[in-house]
Symmetry: C2
Subunit: 296 residues, 2 copies
């Protein structure tokens, strides 16, 4: 089976518990009808006060999020206002746009909203193709460290995502054997090309007490520990200087596979970090040159 | 929510356990993109030796079945031959056509098969529209006895399907109170317009020992009983003469609602019936005039 069919059919299956949302997602995909367009489910987008919230689907190549509101969204005024607030926050913080589909309407009207969205996506794609900036969905490249090593540069919009720590090490010519410590796996490795630019693969899953939260909207990662003393020590140590990390965020993708996704270059943020929260890392670069580790 | 959205979204949800089949069904529906076309899941089609088998989806207005073969279908030669045999049987016995989609191929090839099917369905619809014989999908009519009473005639392709026994009685001006016998519900009622044409609503669910099996492909219903004496008595009694029944077959539809679907006029088939099998009823008419109960 082709990877794309496997991916999309699993995405459909995973969204099938919400009937109307699922109907809308299948229709969007089939009407875009372009294998080069990538659709990703449930992108992490964080808001103030709430740990994280999800948009329903996201089109990374054109920066369009889609919120599919089932009829229940429209039963209360509070919910409508909250939805609007949430949408504005996502748009302001990411520069992406959020397209909302109101499913409390009749079938014809739901279809015409989808038609509008599909036109918008196709138009964005065509504009990028004309400018030569469109990056077709190419899973074989996304996951292949050799490809990116030869290319010499990676950027967030490339959707670079490796399946193993070995692949991350291979990209930077780091010795993957040094990532093993007894039965444990280290959370990162020194970059042999530039000592001051650590290579880090944090996870939202707790590991040896460490807890990391990635806020995709604001481009920050919070690194903290379940043990207060370790948390405070970690904060105190980092607060004394400037630290830089190339980050591959760990998650399980829709196919159930482990992924380490490149999310940018981060530095410890002295304003946001404190002894209570822990160390907060803020993105300072989206693109990195593999050879000289220059970022921008 | 509109009935059609409710219906289709439930159909999608119900098929979601088979990933590839589900991907294909959603694509067929969205690319046909015509609210007037009805798609029905898992139509009953019976074959020799096997009690019943299902085609994946069926388009009743144009008589097209679709078989979606997941890659596993192609692992064994026996299975390929069986699939071919099954397809021929359905086509010969029903006069419908069976379109097979081979999902062992690559995504592009699966898509091109779907394109071909969608063109075929659109062409059939357009031809019927041009001839004035196309019956648009209209759930409000399908389930409304007043509509059909005014029309005065029903035929299988109308997809007439009532939600209650009261609705069946209303169509024929029969007194629905006579269908109640203590705590039990009778399996049929005398037709007040023609005594020799009984109105019957059999079910595949066993009721008071009675077991009915509807063979959609061959247009037969087998009526039998779990108790041998009752089965033989019933067979003996029917074999002495010719009996005629207007049949509404009971089933639960995709929305979980009880339905009694008009499937034609049947007579007891003396060749097929025997003391071991029970009484077999064969379809002799597809259309019936409500007023004079003339069938053809």
């Amino acid at each position: 089976m082709s990877y794309k069919l496997d991916y999309i059919s699993r995405l459909f299956q995973r969204t099938s518990s919400k009937r109307i949302e699922h109907y809308v997602i299948t229709r969007i995909w089939h009407l875009i009808d372009n294998y080069d367009v990538k659709i990703t489910p449930q992108q992490y987008v964080t808001r103030q006060h709430i740990n994280y919230a999800l948009t329903d689907v996201y089109f990374p190549q054109v920066g369009i999020h889609v919120e599919i509101n089932e009829p229940a969204h429209y039963y209360s005024n509070d919910r409508i206002i909250n939805d609007l607030k949430r949408r504005k926050e996502i748009e302001t913080n990411t520069g992406h746009s959020v397209f909302v589909i109101d499913c409390s309407l009749e079938l014809k009207e739901i279809h015409s909203q989808i038609d509008e969205l599909v036109s918008l996506i196709k138009k964005s794609v065509n504009e990028k193709v004309a400018k030569g900036t469109f990056k077709p969905w190419c899973p074989e490249k996304e996951h292949n460290p050799i490809y990116w090593k030869e290319k010499g540069i990676i950027t967030i919009s490339d959707e670079v995502s490796f399946h193993t720590i070995e692949d991350i090490c291979l990209l930077f010519d780091a010795d993957h054997r040094k990532t093993i410590r007894g039965f444990l796996r280290k959370g990162g490795i020194q970059n042999p090309k530039r000592n001051d630019l650590f290579i880090w693969w944090p996870s939202e899953r707790q590991r040896s007490g460490w807890i990391n939260t990635y806020d995709e909207i604001n481009g920050t990662i919070t690194e903290t520990h379940s043990d207060t003393k370790k948390k405070v020590d970690h904060f105190n140590w980092h607060t004394q200087g400037s630290h830089y990390r190339i980050v591959f965020f760990h998650y399980k993708d829709i196919l159930g596979l482990t992924n380490y996704k490149y999310v940018g270059v981060f530095t410890n943020d002295k304003e946001l970090s404190n002894a209570e929260i822990g160390t907060v890392w803020t993105r300072i670069g989206e693109t990195i040159n593999i050879m000289d580790a220059e970022y921008q």
